[in-house]
């Protein structure tokens, strides 16, 4: 964002959010997560730790709420109104929803978080000064802050050999969050470009979707009509840029979390079907 750019594109800059940010998205990465087949096994979370060099903070700091799990499987037990307490917890894999009108973006004082032409909500670690406003303004609370420096404590030798070389290890004082495995997106895009072809659906996927034993997580380009994720969104009649989905048909289980806040998340969840006792 240079001053020239700001002045020449002022009106476009101002209206960017209402009209969906970038007008010519290359891709719009999205997800569909079927809670009906999620078993809550946490494989996605573990895969995320391995893929994205997430620090393991230890039990005390986890207890204090300083954990760094970009993808957490939330458990909800108390659902007495649903009439099935004996059926156990409900699971909700929760990661950054890559909102199209992300609330974290406008509040960052140094523009360390911004929207990419891929429809991703990107975080620039080098630019972050750690004011933590983005996290405060995130209704999902999926932004994680490096409260300590973890390089030595989390990966003592020889564990540092298992770090993913494609991405960095973040130091203290920096905010981080789920990137939809942006390093995989980049290398797949580069590969397709080198081979002079279009990126195909299913060519690559995120670590969590790859690790999910029941294929509950589906990742893909929402803009590509033939992608699995776009088909799922269509099948369940979930549309973007609305604050409430039409829920007349019980067969259509799709919904987006906190979409009433007008943040336009990119993850569609499919409701869990539970039989009445």
């Amino acid at each position: 964002m240079s001053l020239d750019n700001l002045l020449s594109n002022w009106s476009q800059y101002r209206k960017g959010h209402e009209e969906g940010g970038f007008h010519d998205y290359e891709h719009r990465w999205g997800m569909a997560i079927d809670l009906d087949i999620c078993t809550g096994c946490n494989a996605c979370s573990t895969a995320c730790y391995a893929e994205n060099n997430l620090a393991v903070v230890g039990p005390e700091r986890f207890e204090k709420g300083q954990a760094m799990h970009w993808l957490r499987v939330e458990r909800y037990w108390d659902q007495s109104e649903l009439d099935h307490p004996e059926q156990g917890a409900s699971f909700l894999p929760m990661m950054c929803q890559q909102c199209n009108a992300a609330t974290c973006e406008p509040v960052c004082p140094v523009a360390a978080t911004y929207h990419t032409p891929d429809g991703l909500n990107a975080q620039i670690y080098n630019r972050c000064i750690g004011s933590r406003y983005c996290s405060n303004n995130c209704p999902f609370r999926v932004r994680y802050f490096n409260f300590y420096s973890y390089y030595e404590s989390s990966w003592p030798e020889p564990l540092n050999m298992q770090l993913n070389p494609d991405i960095t290890v973040r130091d203290k004082g920096v905010m981080e969050k789920c990137t939809y495995c942006v390093q995989r997106i980049r290398s797949a895009k580069n590969k397709a470009k080198m081979e002079d072809r279009k990126l195909e659906d299913g060519e690559f996927t995120t670590a969590c979707a790859q690790a999910c034993p029941t294929n509950a997580i589906v990742f893909g380009d929402w803009q590509d009509e033939n992608s699995q994720v776009a088909k799922l969104w269509k099948k369940h009649e979930v549309t973007r840029a609305v604050t409430k989905q039409n829920k007349d048909n019980p067969e259509k289980r799709g919904y987006r979390i906190f979409e009433e806040l007008n943040i336009d998340p990119s993850v569609m969840y499919l409701e869990r079907v539970r039989e009445k006792v």
């Binding site: 964002m1 300083q66 000064i129 750690g130 802050f145 905010m175």
Partner: protein, 471 residues
Amino acid sequence: MYNEKDINEQIAWAKINADVLRSMENPRKSYWVAIVICILMIACAVFAEYIQYTVGMGPSNLNNPHMWDMYIATFVFWIGMSHSGTLLSAILHLIHADWRKPIYRFAEAMTTFSLMTAGIFPIIHLGRVWNMYWVLPYVSDRGLWPNFRSPLVWDAFAISTYLSASMLFLFIGMIPDLAICRDNARGWRKKLYTVLSLGWSGNDRQWRNFRKIYLLMACFLIPLAVSVHSIVSADFAMSIMPGWHVTTFPPYFVAGALYSGCAAIITLFVLLRYFFRFEEYMTLPIMEKTAKLTFAIAMVWTYLNLIEFSSVWYGHDIYNKELLIDKATGAYAWVFWTMLFCGSVVPFALAFQKLRRHMPTMFVVSLLLNVGMFFERWMIVAPTLSMSHSPHQWDVMWGSIVEWAIVFGSLGWFGLLFLIFVKVFPSVSMYEVKEMVFHRQRHLVNEDAATKFHRRSDDKTTTGEPGLEGA
């Protein structure tokens, strides 16, 4: 009941000079004790900040929902404290309330020093302090700018503008007094005041220019003060969090700011009056006026609180309503009720004239008011974070000793600056007290003449005198 004057018109000008200059000399033992205590408090904070700087933000107990806590609350508290100095010196100056004259100087110093304290907090709360200048729009080869949409950037502009403007205002208003000091000082003080008084000789042209610039600065500062705290409130109001996304936040913050600032003025009023024996200048009627002002602001603050609660209650926004109920009944309930007690019930002590005139009571009451206002800021920051939209991330967090040490140390920092100020600069404006005495004397003379004149024109029996109509 009590019918005294704000100030005794018969004080000789030389006595005013002597009294104020005396307050700047020969510090007592208690002064040095206070200085040492302040330095020790600062040392606590520096040590805590050293830990935080080297280890990371972790030791302060901040965690995922509670990304902000006491640092931001204390920041808002000190910013708020700074507002009443401007109220006293600029607003009351414009509306010609001359009772402000003996007490505005220290209030203005308080403004500057509390801003200097407040400015530290956004910096130390950063995860990467060493990169703090990235918030400012400096020229960079990479063409990188701060994000002008972020209220934190507005903060940086607002606070630095307000700090520099209020420092200038304090300094400009002090120039004639510094000249008096220069004429009466020796040694290093003489050199200091010679430089600072900018060659003031008190001639006609200097006074005229001085009046103009002082008025100009006053007019400039008033909108600035209001906008600064509105912008601080935007840090919260611009977010989408329940309890923060509130339309009334800007006036609410400004009212709270004036409130805590007036309470702090009362505290320092009592202290200066006692330690410097300023009974003749910081008189009981002036204290009464300050207390009444504080009471009025306290009621405005209470009213705005009620508006906020009722709009949440009748708004039926599920997140906001849950949060309000949690504030009143949850883990932070004791803070919430202490805030309401100190902020809305204790000020009723100011409604009683007997209490208004009793210095120890006023001292305790003013401290309680500020405790209430500190808790108010805490209640703005913490409960929202503890109970935002996502129920999985609900959490109650209490700050660690590291966090509290820095908050505690900020009191020492403010205290140290203020203690140095009162011994180096005149804490009562000498030239303006003289003005006040002079104008009141003139007023008395005019009043005498006016009563004589009216008696004459009303008196129908004395026909020999010419009436007004005949003239």
